[in-house]
C-alpha cells in the first residue's frame, strides 16, 4: 500500500471531503457511466456491474447494469453496513469472493440471502489522486465464480479510467489556479437558487481586485497568480458551506451566500476587506491588496441575469467611487 492510500484509509473525514469534491452523490444517471458499466458487465460476462460510491452511512450507485436492465434499482441506495464495496474500500485492494454464501462476512447479507442472490463478487477501489478510496467498481454474479488475477488487473484498470473521467469533470468545476469554482459551476449554483426560488434571503457579492493589472505589469504574472491564490484562500477561510465562491473573471470573484440578507452580505464583504488588508503575499511584502465589491440580495422572482447585473453595477460604482470599498446594489425595480 502506498503512503497516499494508507492516509486515505485512516482518514474518514478526508475521504468524505474527497468524495464531496466530485459532487457526484445523488446526481441523475448519466449515459457515460452507464455505458462503462455495461461494457464491463459484457467483458466479464457476468450478471451485474456497478460504480458505487461510499458515503458516510450508505452506498450509492452512480451506475449499475444487470442482465435485465441497465439500472439496478435494488442496489441504488443501501446502508453502508450491508455494502460489499465498503469492504473493498477498507481493504485498499481488490476484494474477490468466490461464493458469498460460504463466506462468513457475507453469508447473512440480504443481497446474498434475498432475491438478488449474490454469490460471486469482485470489487476494486476507486482511488482519488490523493489516495482516498471514495467508492468501488465491482462486478457480481448469481453463480459462484473464481476470479483470476487477470480479472483483478482488468477491473483495476477500468477503475483508473473511471477515475480519470471523474477527474475531468472535477476540472470543469474547479478553477485550477485558485481552487474555487469555475465561472460555469458558480453560475450553475446561482441558477439553482433562482430555480428553487424559496424566498429565503440569498445574496451575491462580486469582488474585483484593485489595480491587479499593475501587479502583473510590475512583478510579472506569477506574482499576479500568487495574489489571486492568496485572495481566494482568504475568502475560503471566511465562507463556509453551503455558501460558495467562484472565479467569475480574471481577477473577479463571486460569493454566493445562502440565508444572508443585504446587511449580512455587506458584513461579510467588510470582514473580507479587513482580512485582505492584513494579507501578506510572499515576494510582495509591501504590496497592499484591496478589493472593490458589489453586494446584491436577490429579490423573489428575479432572474439570474438581473441579479448578477445589479451586483455588477454596484461593483462598478465601488470602482468608480475610488475602489477599496463595498457598495450595496439598488433594489430590484418593480415594473
Amino acid at each position: 500500500m502506498n503512503e497516499a492510500a494508507r492516509l486515505g484509509a485512516d482518514d474518514e473525514a478526508g475521504r468524505l471531503a474527497a468524495l464531496r469534491r466530485y459532487n457526484i452523490l445523488d446526481t441523475e444517471p448519466e449515459e457515460e457511466f452507464d455505458e462503462i458499466v455495461a461494457l464491463i458487465r459484457s467483458i466479464f460476462n457476468i450478471s451485474s456491474a456497478a460504480i458505487n460510491l461510499i458515503d458516510f452511512d450508505r452506498q450509492w450507485s452512480k451506475a449499475a447494469a444487470n442482465a435485465s436492465s441497465n439500472r439496478c434499482a435494488s442496489q441504488n441506495n443501501c446502508p453502508r453496513s450491508e455494502a460489499f464495496c465498503d469492504y473493498t474500500i477498507r481493504s485498499q485492494e481488490a476484494t474477490m469472493i468466490e461464493d458469498a454464501s460460504l463466506d462468513p462476512r457475507f453469508a447473512d447479507n440480504r443481497f446474498v440471502t434475498g432475491p438478488l442472490g449474490v454469490r460471486s463478487y469482485l470489487g476494486v477501489p476507486l482511488t482519488t489522486p490523493d489516495g482516498y478510496n471514495i467508492g468501488a467498481l465491482c462486478v457480481f454474479g448469481t453463480e459462484p465464480r473464481s476470479f483470476t488475477s487477470a480479472d483483478k488487473e482488468v477491473l483495476s484498470n477500468f477503475a483508473k479510467v473511471v477515475m480519470s473521467q471523474m477527474e475531468l469533470r472535477l476540472t470543469a468545476r474547479v478553477d485550477g489556479l485558485t481552487g474555487v469554482l469555475t465561472r460555469k459551476a458558480f453560475v450553475t449554483r446561482l441558477d439553482r437558487v433562482v430555480a428553487e426560488d424559496t424566498g429565503d434571503p440569498t445574496s451575491l457579492v462580486l469582488l474585483d481586485l484593485d489595480h491587479f493589472k499593475s501587479i502583473n505589469d510590475r512583478f510579472g504574472h506569477p506574482a499576479g497568480d500568487a495574489v489571486l491564490t492568496h485572495v481566494a484562500a482568504a475568502m475560503s477561510g471566511l465562507v463556509k458551506k453551503p455558501d460558495s465562491i467562484g472565479r467569475v473573471g480574471g481577477e473577479e470573484f463571486g460569493i454566493l451566500l445562502h440565508g444572508a440578507d443585504l446587511v449580512a452580505a455587506q458584513g461579510l464583504a467588510a470582514r473580507l476587506r479587513e482580512r485582505l488588508a492584513q494579507l501578506s503575499v510572499p515576494g510582495l511584502p509591501d504590496e497592499r491588496v484591496t478589493v472593490s465589491a458589489g453586494v446584491a440580495e436577490r429579490s423573489r422572482g428575479e432572474t439570474r441575469q438581473a441579479w448578477f447585473e445589479r451586483a455588477d453595477r454596484a461593483l462598478y460604482a465601488a470602482k468608480h467611487n475610488g475602489r477599496d470599498q463595498a457598495v450595496a446594489a439598488a433594489p430590484l425595480e418593480v415594473k
Partner: protein, 76 residues
C-alpha cells in the same frame, strides 16, 4: 495492434478535431489515454476478444471526449 497505437488511432477518429486544449486539459487527456493503454494491455493479457477491445476503447474515448467538449465550453 499495439495498445498505444490502438488508442492513438481511436483518438484520431474522435470528435475533438483541431480544438486547442489548455495545458491542464491536455495533461488530463494524456493521463486518460495512458490509463486506456494499460487497460487494453490487461485485456489482451486476459485473452479478451480483440474486436471487442477496439469497440470498448472507441466507446470509452467518445464518452471522455463528450465530457471534454463540455469542459471546453465552460466559459461560453
Amino acid at each position: 495492434m499495439e495498445p498505444a497505437q490502438l488508442v492513438a488511432e481511436e483518438l484520431k477518429r474522435g470528435t475533438l478535431g483541431e480544438r486547442e486544449l489548455t495545458a491542464d486539459l491536455q495533461q488530463a487527456l494524456e493521463r486518460h489515454c495512458s490509463n486506456l493503454v494499460t487497460l487494453v494491455q490487461s485485456l489482451h493479457a486476459s485473452g479478451r476478444d480483440r474486436d471487442a477491445i477496439r469497440e470498448l476503447v472507441a466507446v470509452m474515448l467518445r464518452s471522455y471526449e463528450d465530457d471534454l467538449i463540455q469542459v471546453l465550453g465552460k466559459d461560453e
